[in-house]
């Protein structure tokens, strides 16, 4: 399969990417690793007329401590998240979840910013970033703005990024090395989650239980009120509207959400 024809330009910086987006309009798409976009283009689910390549933009792939947060450049690849000792020490949920994305070849190409901008509700990193209460920094024609991750995911493959904006940085609160877990239930190796659970600092996010990554608010409220892991996990499916497909119906996914949440809370050291 070969994508439909398109023009290809390379951005020299993120500011340049913003200018190119303004110049080429809504039929232009940014490409970094391309591991979500290119398959969609090959399958004719997407046909941008211009691809703006930001993969090699300088100073956009980094992991560093900045006060109370770990600041991650949007172009940081999954393999670099997995391999980062700093991230393992300061925000290990992100490093752990990154290791569940696809396979080594995919992790050599895919980027954190790309995964978040693509906003697949079944994906690992959006779920982990949602559980982390991160702040996302977008760059647009009017400069930088911060978006709370809880306001970022709007629907299937839909985010709060405006058409002319680029995701520049992901700011993850430092949690230290403990109190987290990522649990993913898959039908086969190298697949998206049927359901996955991310736990950190008493917050719980679920993958593939709604049109967006989903915060299990009832579980979090129960934990805050002193409930046990089992009691809180029993509420994990409240408010969820998972898809039904050939792999799992709604009831089964909701059952999985409760079971995997209990396991995750226990693994995170919440009794």
């Amino acid at each position: 399969m070969i994508p439909a024809p398109f023009d290809y330009v390379r951005a020299g910086s993120l500011d340049d990417a913003v200018a190119l987006l303004a110049e080429h309009g809504e039929d232009a798409k940014l490409i970094a690793g391309g591991h979500s976009l290119l398959p969609m283009m090959k399958l004719r689910l997407a046909f941008p007329t211009v691809l703006i390549d930001i993969r090699k933009v300088p100073d956009a792939a980094y992991i560093r401590v900045d006060g109370d947060v770990v600041a991650i450049g949007a172009l940081t690849r999954h393999c670099d998240l997995v391999a980062s000792d700093l991230l393992r020490a300061e925000a290990p949920l992100i490093a752990t979840a990154a290791g569940f994305v696809g396979d080594p070849q995919i992790r050599h190409r895919g980027t954190l910013g790309g995964s978040l901008s693509h906003a697949d509700p079944a994906a690992d990193l959006p779920t982990a970033v949602l559980a982390s209460d991160a702040v996302l920094v977008a760059l647009g024609p009017d400069g930088r703005r911060e978006i709370l991750v809880t306001d970022f995911f709007l629907g299937y493959f839909e985010t709060a990024l405006a058409p002319g904006e680029v995701l520049a940085e992901i700011r993850i609160p430092r949690t230290g090395p403990n109190g987290y877990h990522y649990e993913k239930f898959v039908r086969r190796a190298n697949d998206w989650a049927i359901v996955a659970v991310a736990v950190v600092a008493g917050r719980v996010a679920l993958a593939n239980m709604a049109a967006t990554p989903f915060r299990a608010a009832a579980t979090e409220a129960a934990l805050a009120a002193g409930a046990s892991a089992a009691e809180a996990a029993a509420l994990a499916a409240e408010g969820t509207q998972p898809i039904q497909d050939m792999h799992a119906d709604q009831e089964y996914r909701q059952h999985l959400a409760r079971v995997l949440t209990r396991r995750s809370l226990e693994a995170a050291g919440i009794a």
Binding site: I2, P5, Y8, K42, L51, R55, N190
Partner: protein
């Protein structure tokens, strides 16, 4: 669009369409048919090559995105570390351990294994199985492939 790329140590400059995938560039422009295209959807790993030393699935990389890169395909792997029989130690181990039957997945398996050993020279069996998660084989049941990877790790360590 002008593409300058090094493939198996040889510099190439070609005009390509932006939509040309790296797998097609390697096969149809460079004539290197060792890189197989299997699923064409980033699942099977048959098209795995190294770009700047890292394993990638070349069916999901635009050739123009590899501009300026050094690409190694299965045809060029042995030259990076030739053993006494002229093969790369991973290739020799796949032969010795019967790590293939029909052979279609083998170029990708060999490149993924060589990529793993470059990043993790002494993997455990579990690490090998996880590292080859993105490569599908429909013949062998994987056991001999995993054995080949572990054998290659040993022989490479021994010849350091």
């Amino acid at each position: 669009m002008r593409l300058s790329i090094t493939v198996n140590g040889q510099a190439h400059t070609d005009d390509v369409e932006p939509r040309m995938l790296l797998a097609h560039y390697l096969r149809d422009v460079c004539g290197l048919k060792g890189t197989n295209i299997g699923c064409d959807t980033t699942s099977c790993g048959a098209c795995t090559v190294h770009v700047d030393g890292e394993s990638v699935k070349s069916c999901t990389v635009l050739a123009v995105q590899a501009d300026g890169a050094e690409v190694t395909t299965v045809e060029g792997l042995a030259a990076t570390r030739p053993g006494p029989d002229g093969m790369h130690p991973v290739q020799a181990a796949f032969r010795a351990e019967h790590g293939l039957q029909c052979g279609f997945c083998t170029p990708g398996m060999v490149m993924a294994t060589a990529g793993l050993l470059a990043e993790n020279p002494k993997p455990t069996e579990r690490e090998v199985r996880e590292a080859l998660e993105g490569n599908l084989c429909r013949c062998t049941g994987y056991h001999n492939i995993v054995r080949a990877a572990l054998t290659a790790a040993e022989s490479m360590a021994a010849s350091e």
